[in-house]
């Protein structure tokens, strides 16, 4: 997994590439934490266009961010989820909590 972060006002946009599993998930977690500590982040937008695999390690991170951003009135949005990624997100119930756009 590789990722790139970008800021737009209070939005943190992360473009993720590759396979999202246990490896490097803590690294991404830390990067988000640092970015949120640096300046106010209200919304997190995850661009999954180039993600070809995700499991519950990735979903755990999304849920944690959703919960903590909700506390400050923010939200998580997922864009460009491919078919299998969308299926996993749907099965996990995350679709009910946040806006998820398919590729």
């Amino acid at each position: 997994m590789e990722y790139q972060m970008m800021r737009e006002n209070n939005d943190l946009i992360i473009g993720i590439r590759g396979e999202v599993d246990l490896i490097k998930i803590d690294d991404l977690k830390t990067s988000i934490k640092q970015e949120r500590a640096r300046a106010l982040v209200k919304n997190l937008i995850l661009d999954l266009r180039q993600v070809n695999f995700i499991d519950s390690s990735g979903l755990g991170l999304i849920l944690t961010q959703y919960k903590s951003l909700k506390e400050i009135g923010g939200k998580v949005k997922i864009i460009n989820a491919n078919e299998i990624t969308y299926k996993i997100l749907e099965m996990s119930g995350l679709c009910k909590l946040m806006e998820i756009n398919k590729l």
């Binding site: 490896i23 998930i25 519950s56 755990g60 849920l63 944690t64």
Partner: protein, 153 residues
């Protein structure tokens, strides 16, 4: 190993392919296990979607061993066995970690002992595989056995 043994018996023990993989309990090996079994199961005739499902199940089982059974200790071993039969793919993922005290509880969706995890590992395994059996002994380890049917066209 009961479901796998039964399955082997049913299909007159014609093993079409057999893999045994031993992995160190490191996070990067989740991808290694997933990739190896994805290639093998695609060759066995699973569809692209079925391979994707199997990949999630493997990922969850191996991640469980790393996170829960060994609690991050990277010096331990995870054993994977893959057997391709005429109609089934049988996979077992075994660790010698702490074991699951309450299997019924562990497989409940959204139950997790770790706050930053969704507790969906076993739910995904059950959804994506045709048969699942979990054997575990506290302090001894856990084996997750999974069967995926090969629906040949």
């Amino acid at each position: 190993m009961q479901i796998i043994k039964n399955s082997i018996k049913d299909q007159a023990t014609i093993v079409k392919n057999h893999l045994e993989i031993c992995l160190t309990s490191k996070a990067e090996n989740v991808g290694v296990a997933r990739l190896a079994l994805a290639v093998a199961s695609a060759n066995a005739g699973l569809t692209i979607n079925e391979v994707e499902e199997l990949k999630v199940a493997i990922s969850e089982a191996v991640s469980n061993s790393i996170i829960h059974a060994y609690e991050g200790d990277e010096s331990q071993k995870i054993y994977i066995e893959y057997i391709e039969l005429a109609e089934n793919i049988c996979i077992s993922v075994t660790d010698t970690g702490r074991g699951i005290e309450n299997i019924a509880r562990a497989v409940e969706p959204e139950f997790s002992t770790k706050s930053d995890r969704m507790g969906l590992g076993f739910a995904f395994i059950h959804s994506f595989m045709d048969k699942v059996e979990i054997e575990s002994k506290a302090g001894k380890g856990t084996t997750v056995k999974m069967i995926k049917k090969i629906r040949r066209a």
